[in-house]
Symmetry: D2
Subunit: 165 residues, 4 copies
């Protein structure tokens, strides 16, 4: 179908340390369990309520897996952008089940640390993307997006000046 979008944006905390596995040909896959929660005040009782939602995140991007491995721990707060994917599987007792996951793979996937705990995901030489077999992926924040060198409209452009407001 031309014209479809499948995007999930989460800001939440890791409920436990990341799990990192490798495929047979050596590519990393990271699994995160991320909590988001919402709080509200009950209209009738006036009580404060909270509801936590747990999200299964699967990362098929080599540079993002590196960041996960190096920087993320239980409790870390992250911004994540990925896509929904529902997988069918058969459990131990032979029952067919479905699991919906947020997949970070290729373009338009991002993982950004929101804790001060690390140096910014640095190190990864994104933009060079060493020919890994995974689609390249939005690195921590947006490293490989080169800044616009020339203005978008052919008019004079003094990029380095800051905007005064």
């Amino acid at each position: 179908m031309a014209g479809s979008v499948n995007k999930v944006i989460l800001v939440g905390n890791l409920g436990k340390d990341p799990e990192i596995r490798r495929t047979q040909d050596g590519r990393p896959i990271a699994n995160l369990s991320i909590a988001t929660s919402e709080t509200w005040r009950d209209k009738n009782s006036g009580e404060r309520k909270e509801k936590t939602e747990w999200h299964r995140v699967v990362i098929f991007s080599e540079p993002l897996c590196k960041i996960v491995e190096q920087y993320l721990k239980k409790g870390a707060k992250v911004y994540i952008e990925g896509a929904l994917q529902t997988r069918k599987y058969t459990d131990q007792s032979g029952v067919e089940k479905y699991s919906t996951e947020i997949v970070l793979q290729g373009f338009n996937s991002t993982l950004t640390m929101l804790d001060g705990r690390s140096g910014g995901g640095g190190g990864g030489n994104f933009g060079d993307e060493p020919g890994g077999d995974f689609g390249s992926s939005g690195p921590v924040s947006s490293a490989p997006r080169r800044p616009v060198a020339a203005g978008g409209s052919g008019r004079n452009s003094d990029m380095d000046d800051d905007i005064p407001f």
Copy 2:
């Protein structure tokens, strides 16, 4: 948790007509089945591939349900903004299963038709939100967002002029 975000954005097509039920106290709940798909060219074979993902959408917003009822049919293209929610249930054979749904309820939920088929979902008197028990919800597009009457900065403001580029 302060500081969490749980957001899903989909652009896709209804795989079938919406299903609308009512709670015992008369509130509507709409279920949509939305397809998104991605296409890519296989690196090795060069073949064109396509993969479709199906999303279960549940709408707990009265005005959005009205729009669904009035305007949406199988095949319709929509923009949807909601939140992920995983529900546990026991199927007919007594097996516990989970279902992950995109919930449209309250703030920061939106449904916008992207077909030319309707007049814009109008009609709903959003902004008045007749005290329904559901959280009010982002209407078709953004009806109740009143335009900014005065500029954000106290400077002269000629809002009605259009911007010429």
Copy 3:
């Protein structure tokens, strides 16, 4: 136009303390200056580069203004969801200029603190929205989105169980 979306999502830091003004009829308007930045490694020189973008944010939502007033300070990290708006104004020397701002107003606007600094924006009795003249607005995180009481599909639903993965 039926079917349009105008959405901005920022995660960044306040460059200075918020500015809060009031309209003649007493409604608050908050202005934030938010920095986002991206870093990348220059392909040729190998140098680390950084580019900061400054965003002008205008908040026309009474509950969000309260949160801004109570909790946000220079340096605070926030998640913001709003809409783009370009305003025309005439500067001191009579020159017509345009200013593009991210407006938080009404539905589908959110401000969430991402620092541990505060108690979560709590306190605000969102969902009751005391008849203010501003469109109600997504509170800190998503307070007023009441959790789904009944499952979306009429099957058994045990909402309070947690999902084990």
Copy 4:
């Protein structure tokens, strides 16, 4: 800054045909003028109101420029994902001005056609991304995101079955 996000999502219509220029070294740059609009009913007068917002979009991605060139015309409806950027320039009369644009460049930029007019933006050999000097970019929809071949968790996986709800 580690941990920042700068994202704009628009669904709107081209106000005029795209303008495509080339840099001195031959790389394409496309400019789009996109309208979004919101409608609401005036609380007092009950009148239907509409406000249109115009967005300047600049595309620095070679494959996206190709799609723009081949498929987009005045009136086309598109989904766009990019980043905000404010540029300073000096106009003809020597006055310094600022222009805020939505830049599509590199990762986490997308352009998806929402009209039925084309076959899906296909053609572009995304995923191979012929070493152009621009950051690669999210193609029409999400072409280069290879589907997940193996499940995210090592359990049985029957990817090709569709999910029946």
